[in-house]
Symmetry: C2
Subunit: 298 residues, 2 copies
Amino acid sequence: MKNILIIGCGLIGSSLLRAIVKKKLSKKIFVYEKSKSNISKIKKLKLSCEIITDFKNVIPKSDLIIFCTPMSEYEKIILKINKYLSPQTIITDVGSSKESSLALIKKKLKKGISWTSSHPISGSEVSGPEFGDSNLFLNKWCILIKEQNSNNKHLIFLHKFWKKIGSKVVTMNSNKHDEVFSMTSHLPHLIAYNLVKTATDFEKQKKYDLVKFSAGGLRDFSRIAASNEIMWRDIFFNNQSNISKAIDLFIKNLKSFKKDIDSKNNKSLIKKLVETKKVRKKIIKLKQDINKPDFGRN
Amino acid sequence: MKNILIIGCGLIGSSLLRAIVKKKLSKKIFVYEKSKSNISKIKKLKLSCEIITDFKNVIPKSDLIIFCTPMSEYEKIILKINKYLSPQTIITDVGSSKESSLALIKKKLKKGISWTSSHPISGSEVSGPEFGDSNLFLNKWCILIKEQNSNNKHLIFLHKFWKKIGSKVVTMNSNKHDEVFSMTSHLPHLIAYNLVKTATDFEKQKKYDLVKFSAGGLRDFSRIAASNEIMWRDIFFNNQSNISKAIDLFIKNLKSFKKDIDSKNNKSLIKKLVETKKVRKKIIKLKQDINKPDFGRN
């Protein structure tokens, strides 16, 4: 490949940039980034790329375009680049929800142009190019979205691309993707935000210093609840229907836990606690976490 | 001190044992443990203690007795040891909730005997003496419970004892303790259990392989939800009234999040997400977690 254009160079964009450079996957990398603070960080870090401010000359030269901006930026950028795109250009994005953004893309993208969506399952609670890492995608899943109208050639290309980056690639449609990740990622993040919010409300009510004693569980949630608010606002809004259903199921189950606790229903409570423990074993067996007890990070 | 008796030698009991040996805080340590499997582990680990099966001869010789069993075991053991206790014996426990167990202790313990409750804020999702660590309490909080009828001499003694073990000691009454930890520890654990339960239910419903993609958030909760079920059943039942209130506040807030998402209320949602992020900074400032981004444990 000759040229790659990365649009948005925060944690994910800059990690991709670093991985592409490391694996020598392109001759040149162009970067479009609207944040002045991020641009100066990229320059200071001496990341190997050309920062562009105008799409006109660069888009026709780009074999692959990767959107790494928050999903709420897609529309504005698509409208800017539409006239320079050709059917050969491979376009992908790394957004965390798919159905709603693909509907928008279909509506806004110039006719005859393909968009093949990706979702690398990696990230952190921190944002910005200074936290990027060429190994961020190593041995992590990358979901490639395959729909009835997908461009097969582009799919095959991106499959190879993500494998070269170090990811394990799996294909699914946008509907299944959004259902699966509403439960494994979006609901957990929302719950973490909500737990920290609840503790804060309680702290104000009681005038207790709760945070001081947060090592008993709360701090683990606070890390997840420190994630980027724009990115997560976009995910919550875009995957609203699945997340809303997930919240309902969560509340139903929580009320059942409450009933067990209030009525001291030993048998029912123990059954629930034992069942969830089994899931942990499965997670470790599937190498989604390490089998090392955690006594708090020191 | 001459002799210490540890009743229950799992993760916490065996960590205390190791710390007492390391700091040379007693001449001898007696251990009472009802699980045969734990006894054989203690022997195999060659932990420096004498395993006892009968309280009669040991209690009168013990200057300090530390209960490290699940809270649901207290009553049975108190009734066994009552007749051997003297007012000089310092008795403490390490249970995670206080009001309800102290009410039971007051009812069951022989008149004239003092019980001074402790709660070291340390632990893990694993159980058993093989995971014990002499540094488990190092720089962690230990809450000492001080009530109107507390024995001041015993309080002063235990304050020094936990400091020698490496803990930072703070004093509060059982009522405040149970309120604070319902929010910073008990609710987070319940929420983790409930999230894993909800994901499991959804997986069955949809026949999707969710666990495979759990690195996006769910796996962090699954670790917490793998904690010992007997210990947590006891905590949930003993601190029922505070936990029940915490659940109600949590559900109220979650419904408010749902409303923001369903109605795409940008301003209200962003405000919530930004507020919770601030708590993370406070947690790090108070050294309740480290300021190091987490990209998943490898």
